[in-house]
Amino acid sequence: MDRRRVTVVAAAVGVVAGATGLGVLAMPAGAGPAPVLPDVSAEALVESVLNAKPAAFGGSVAVNNDLGIPALAGVPQLSDGASTVRMWSDGTGKVRVQLPGGDSERTFVDDGQTAWLWDSAAQTVVKKPHGSFEEHQPGLGDQQAAPTDPVTVSRQVVAAIQQYSDVTVDGTARVANRPAYELVLTPKPTEKTVLREVRIAVDSELRVPLRMAVLTNGTDAPAVQVGFSELNVGPQDASLFAFAPPAGAKVTEPDVEEPTADDKAAAEKALTEAKPQVIGEGWDVVVAARTPQEALADLAERQEQRAERGPQRGEGGDVDVAGLLKQLGKPVSGTWGSGTLITTRVGGVLVADDGRVVAGAVPEQVLLDAIGQVK
Amino acid sequence: MTTSTSARVGSAASAAGSTPVFAARTRGLRKVYGRTVAVDRVDLDVPEGAVLGMLGPNGSGKTTTIRMLLGLVRPTEGEVELLGKALPDGVAQALPHVGALVEGPGFHPFLTGRENLRRAAAFEPLLASGDIRQAVEDALERVGLAAAAHRRYRGYSLGMKQRLGLASALLVPRRLIVLDEPTNGLDPAGTREVRKVIADLHEAGSTVVVSSHLLSEIEATCTHVAVLHRGTVVAQGELAELLHSDSSSLLIVTPDVDDALSALRAGRISARPFAEGVRVELIGTTAPVVLETLVHAGVAVHEARRHRTGLEDLFARLTEAEESEHSLSAVDTIEEGTR
């Protein structure tokens, strides 16, 4: 064969190989064939999850968010789209969680005595006693519960909603290259929730949740999916659970009760003063609260500052809270008064003009009914 | 590795076969660019040791033919044999022995003449790394650029550029040298030097192919000629043969023009007057017969000289004939004459 033709053919093969390579890379990581595992009943599986001992592990959690909520600057794990959380645990309470942002990162380290929260964008470190961050994960808003730790959060979810749900085992799956059972929680037909089902992949060996997906009525793609993309079970490098504040960083040691420079603490304060109450049961649960106006304004202002990060700071002095809310939601009114309704694919939040707030994974009408009951 | 093996096999085969008489030859060469036929049915023979002049007006296909001869352009149809190797596969064997200057000299303006040659030399397969320095100096010397070698190519005159191109073709002793319009932009002295270089190469046994649209250049330096017109070879062969095949005439300088004419007509020899005498076409007669006739008639012959038809006439007739209706027969006549 003529050498030129050989060259052309070889080059064509090269082009095809390169394009194929790109195509393979573009494909989502192949789940592989479903592993064959011994049968297990749903009840036994749920029980083993609840009784599983915390293990030392390190891994990456992929968060796929399709909630339809507005982007929160600086925390991609909460915004629509895909993001990653990296976490390590030694199984005895020492934890390291990293939230990589576009070009920044927040790192949370709890070394057993002290908990540290580092924010690279602000070059700040928040120092707190051990355990004080536990109720609310660092950097995560509290009202929009997009869990990032499948181990703890899914376990709570399983326990809480078992009685209002049909619990079944729907085959097996491979998550983070580990065999897992697919546990499916379906709301009982009497429930009024907008959620269709919650799927939880449970590690066949460790019986810890590896992946959780929330599916809503009307779509096949999960509204939220949180799952390990990489998981190494076993002792982790001890240096991961140590943290020394970098030289140039501003270290703050906030009093938990007091408002702090940190926006998360401001939200916390707002919630503390709001006396949250729970309306309804099961899937229909609606969390209600009365937010003091100034706390809301404080929170909004911080959001604003975050949104326009950069050298020119301090511009968000007076923020029109109502205006900000109206950008996100639509105005509603009724016998209870008037307010703004923000809906997402997994539920909604209704903020009344007088500061009352209700939120839940329920249709609009349920929220409107609930807000009347808020004291 | 595989290439060198196959090359050895190829060369062994050719060594075993008949020795090629031609340094280069093409058969049925055709090149079509889009809908334009640049070269068509070119059967070119370059005998070994010859200095072949390729003659043709601009756009006649000279350069395209040369580029196909050197494997730069792939023919649409036809075959090329270079130093006994069929192209394109034989390129690696043949080209090291071929020096070429195609479509003007190509060098980097920011390098000096010497650096440019060094770069060209680094890619010459036949040059050992240790010989590069000397080979470059020799080539510069040969084309008379030694004094300007340290200057940047950017500042060279057209003639100097042309010489550097020639130097690059002469870096290694070559068996075939292809020069496309080598005297382009050269002053008369430069042209003479190029002619001398060609003569030297010829004497050393190299085969030379020179293309030009300048007739005088070809006539002065070539042993063989190929005339191209509109993409085809309209005539080729030894220069002397081509010129002799054409009927020549005898010019007789005489004051008695009328007497001479009548004497010749009486002898059935065709003649016509010209400025100083008569011109006799040597068709069906020879010079001695003509002179004898005139002398017998008592015509005073001051001078008689044979008028050799120049290449210019030949060229003009070939290219004009091509345009007329009888083109084919005209070409045929000439080609018969050359065989």
Binding site: G18, P100, G102, S104, P246 | R8, H97, G106, P125
Partner: protein
């Protein structure tokens, strides 16, 4: 008549000649000198920005105070979206289109140099010069960074501090990763370069491509397309500044660039093999 044996000039000699030719080009020297200015300008700019209170800027700039080893990484990421692709495109443009423009490509082919070998030599020149350009930025960046900001170690985005040696290791890794990305762009530029005689066309087409890719990367409606775009891989490169080092995106980006190199060089080979000169 003696038998003709296929002969080739030694590859080492050809490669040396290629590098010497590139380095003798005035444009090369001027270009490399201007690249040295980038980290210096970036460093001085950030130095003034850190003067005030709080972080000097978003992203990596936020952690640069007292952390000079971040400057080379910062500068490389600053240069990656436009400047470095331009540099790669220039090398590639001069490599084939530039030689064709001067008529020297024909000379090389007549030497003869096999067309695939010629592509290999040219790719080598482009690859080495891209590495030189990236390394130069990094080296000047390290010096500028240490002088302006000091730094015994390297503070990562994750808040941990690496030793000076580890920091240099991260910089070396960044050099390697960024260089591979430049190769990806340069290989495509090489394919364009094989198709034209005008170096400016190569540069313009390459930069237009990079900009179009970057714009396509902004539309979330084109999510499915993003993994195919080399520019999309560049954002993930900042992972090099996280600790512990997450390798997934870095590998992915490198493999994407590798695919671009394969595609670009294959197209260039295809064009060179069939081209009339």
């Amino acid at each position: 008549m003696t038998a003709l044996v296929a002969a080739r000039a030694p590859l080492g000699r050809q490669l040396r000649s290629e590098l010497r030719w590139i380095l003798r080009r005035p444009r090369t020297v001027i270009g490399l000198a201007s690249l040295c200015l980038v980290p210096i300008l970036a460093g001085v700019g950030l130095w003034f920005a850190t003067d005030g209170d709080g972080p000097a800027g978003p992203g990596l700039a936020a952690i640069i105070a007292g952390n000079g080893l971040v400057l080379p990484v910062f500068t490389l990421f600053l240069a990656l979206p436009l400047l470095l692709p331009l540099v790669g495109a220039i090398w590639a443009a001069d490599g084939l289109a530039g030689e064709a423009q001067h008529g020297t490509l024909r000379g090389l082919l007549l030497s003869p140099v096999g067309r695939i070998r010629l592509l290999a030599i040219k790719s080598f020149g482009v690859a080495i010069m891209s590495l030189v350009a990236v390394t130069l930025i990094a080296v000047v960046g390290v010096i500028t960074g240490v002088v302006l900001f000091g730094g015994e170690g390297m503070l990562t985005l994750s808040g941990s501090t690496l030793s000076f040696g580890e920091g240099l290791g991260r910089i070396a890794l960044t050099i390697a990763l960024v260089t591979v990305q430049v190769w990806g762009v340069a290989a495509i530029a090489m394919a364009i370069s094989a198709c034209t005689e005008h170096p400016l066309v190569v540069m313009a087409a390459t930069m237009a491509g990079v900009i179009v890719f970057a714009v396509l990367g902004l539309f979330s409606a084109l999510d499915w397309l993003h993994p195919y775009l080399i520019t999309s891989a560049w954002e993930g490169m900042i992972d090099v500044m996280r600790d512990p080092l997450p390798t997934e995106q870095l590998w992915r980006g490198t493999v994407v660039a590798g695919c671009y190199v394969l595609i670009g060089l294959s197209l260039a080979a295809m064009r060179l093999a069939t081209k009339d000169n």
